[in-house]
Subunit: 569 residues, 2 copies
Amino acid sequence: MSTLGEAFTFDSSSIFDNMKLLLGTSVASLAVLASAQRLTNVSDTSPFPRDSPVPGNYTGGLRPQVHFSPPQGFMNDPNGMFVGKDGTYHLYYQYNPADIVAGNQHWGHATSKDLYRWENQPIALYPPVPNSGVFSGSAVTDPNNTSGFFPDQDDGVVAIFTVNYGDLKLQTQDIAYSRDGGYTFEWYEGNPVIDTNSKDFRDPKVSRYGDEWVMVVTWSQEFSIGIYTSPNLKNWAHTSNFTDHGFLGTQYECPNMVSIPTRDYDTGEPGENLDLLTLSIQPGAPLGGSVTQYFIGRFNGTHFNTIDQATRLNDFAKDNYAGQFFYGIPEDKPQIDIAWASNWQYTNRVPTGSEGWRSIMSLPRTNYLTNATRIGWTLVTEPYGLEAITDNSVEEKTWTGNGSAIVDFARVESNAVHFSINVTNINATDFGANPTLNFTFLSPVSGESIRAGFLFSGDNPFWLDRSHTNGFADDVFWTSKFSVADIYNGTVWNVEGVIDRSVLEVFVDRGIHAATMLFFPDQPLTLLSVASRDLSADAKVELAVWGLESGWADATSANGTVVGNATRV
Amino acid sequence: MSTLGEAFTFDSSSIFDNMKLLLGTSVASLAVLASAQRLTNVSDTSPFPRDSPVPGNYTGGLRPQVHFSPPQGFMNDPNGMFVGKDGTYHLYYQYNPADIVAGNQHWGHATSKDLYRWENQPIALYPPVPNSGVFSGSAVTDPNNTSGFFPDQDDGVVAIFTVNYGDLKLQTQDIAYSRDGGYTFEWYEGNPVIDTNSKDFRDPKVSRYGDEWVMVVTWSQEFSIGIYTSPNLKNWAHTSNFTDHGFLGTQYECPNMVSIPTRDYDTGEPGENLDLLTLSIQPGAPLGGSVTQYFIGRFNGTHFNTIDQATRLNDFAKDNYAGQFFYGIPEDKPQIDIAWASNWQYTNRVPTGSEGWRSIMSLPRTNYLTNATRIGWTLVTEPYGLEAITDNSVEEKTWTGNGSAIVDFARVESNAVHFSINVTNINATDFGANPTLNFTFLSPVSGESIRAGFLFSGDNPFWLDRSHTNGFADDVFWTSKFSVADIYNGTVWNVEGVIDRSVLEVFVDRGIHAATMLFFPDQPLTLLSVASRDLSADAKVELAVWGLESGWADATSANGTVVGNATRV
């Protein structure tokens, strides 16, 4: 395959034609394998380079600069997320290097020390046979060599994932192990490790509970999460099912179970950990397409028992799916997750295809549970460690009562900013008719905008509106208005967020509510206007806007190409 | 109050000014009552007429003709729905006769023999003291005089409802009885019948299970439904709570529990009844604002036990809330409900205010449960008895494979039509790239449109789009695109619906999914275009459009006023 590797040079105009050509050749030459019913070792069926990362151009006007996106081609679910022994975060992802629509699923790979500056790595896992795919899954470190794969080291990594056999209409759970800390993998010869003869059995997420490995995995069309335990990652015992919970949609996907800290929302005082079970459904979300919900409970070693029968959604907009938690974050720390920031209803059609890539990941986020006033147990979600990419520019504006401010951030090269709006000293007895804090991101060139706002009275809606950006506006699935009721405490309220070329993420009321919203403007949005109206006269509004550094700029060559880590293998 | 009644004459330009004047006078003259902590008998504090219905003008361009709407003023939840001994359907509703925004809650009243031709009746229940409201509730017939209110008759009616005492911040459950079949009520002198000293305890819905009356009622902000039983409607025993189930939003409202038939979806074969528990939440719905969800289970006389922990929504758009089931439909028949067709996020601002009224009810709908292929237990919802108002005009068009048709229904005086699109003989192996059935309702004058469609492949989305009508389009809460995944059986698919000036209701795949969607065009939509593309060549498309008769036209006087039943009292 080395000639294919060499032939794989980046040319933004013809890369996909080249790839299709290569793929066609490859599939033809591999036709002899088509009769193989199943392989348990990795096979060399992919035309994509094994020795170097896929190169990419991250300069496009729609390409986020502080969010991860693939160098080119199509990405979906985050996979295999873990923290290595050296503190490096590993992110794998469902990846079609051959096209800008889903299919041909590989595991792409990238690493980062800060979750913002990513180094693209060579593709980590390849489909084992024609018409197969390496579907979603997870990874763990195995320092104690429970698996037996790592007799001489304490930094072994095991990936646990679904293989989809298209010809067999079969999905099995398989494993592969890495002796170089997660860069290259060997497939376990005893695969599959779980086969229930199901065509819809996927997305294993493994975590550590006490002395055991615990897997959650879905029988997607039976609306069931299977829970398995294992001493060694190879032999798995089925312990229970978690079935017919929450919004069913039409398929369950991508479960996570993680021990997560609880905290008092106001004091930060830690409480006893609870277990969080997240579950994505697709299609059939309330807003259409894909969505992630979560359940709160306790895992007793065999069963996950919820604390109540409530259904809670992770995100109040439409572009957050299949979130995964990093393996290896200490249990007493807020757990860090990254989600796929898109929706299957339109992901294969969004305008970034004109730049040769589709889909981004969400910001990395910290998560803990709190028993919030009035609404009860809630996942609190905040952006992780933005200080790592905050440049030394900040604009701050402050006023009381009615007021407004405009911040022009055209100066910020990345076109990505972190913003925060804090409102304090609120006094409801002094409100006008419609006490609001509204803000707008605007392109002064095209007049396109993203709008948002909060009503401090009545039902306390916080709302988002992406209907005034031009790209993709008329797609019939492009729901453009989102809102959530935020029962704030009556005296202080805040929103913070990151806007990054074609995505806005907001964290309302210190993370009680979060939303991830794509948008596709013709021109960059470079102005932020904020206005308060009918607020109590003494209410104080503090606006801050920080410039963010591109996570890709340092890795970009003179011709605009990010080549990633080409020296690893 | 008789002079107030006489003064209450209909003048579309000044009616609300008059009402506000009258209300002001009344409140002033009743100020002596303000010190009363609570009244248990009805008091005469309302300036609105007791002897005649509120008159209305139903000719406005936005006024639906086959949906119930109030003569003027503001309406929300349906209340007290029952079928009388003579077969008359009684619909009460949360009513503010004084303004076109919510407040000042009375029980409006209307009756019908067919659920489409409504006769407005005098207001049935009035707030008992200043700053109080008669909030939502239900009604039952008491032919066996369990209540003791009806020693000499078998057509007694008892209403069970919440009284909201604004000054006391208290909500209690109270009853009133009617000896004339539901037209006029006397308040029970032993009120309240349930008082838990709560400010958020409301919306009692009473039904009959065996020899007992059973009430479901919410402690809204505790996310709890209380279940009470009673032998006589006066003395209630608390039996259980149903707490923290489903999507919580920020408040529980308007529960219903009803024994409901199950049927095989394809054969219609009846199965054992189940119990359906519906629950509305507001605010905080996934799509913003208000939504209704349902739970399926069995009531054992004290507890409601769900068959699973799934959360299911009644409607996939944004304008269906607080639905209530008629009391008195035989248990082995599909149960009939009517919902409020609006959303608290915008109901107080929608453009019908220019016509002097706001809010409509949904179509009456029949409901049963089925164990649907792939998605499991599902509420199947279809429009009730449209034949009662179908005029003798129908246009039918049929084609195979790719094709299209336009039906001009400008001829239909009501501007309301019932449409049905059946697709049969579908063969997925013969599909083109995007096998679709799309349809559009269009104004040839303004170019405004409502769009909808179904994709027969992939995730099978059925979608609706109201973004191309002018009225209200830029309201930030006016979500305009909705969709649902419909796993049809692969060979036949259908959609039917009713469009009625400013509302579209659709029933997808013979009622497996339903949506209620308001829209506010500048000009009437009078054309329906339908097109199929990339369908299998032999697939047969059958379109039918029936004109509907206005339910109000017969009751309208020469000057356009519907005076309702002015002779009852």
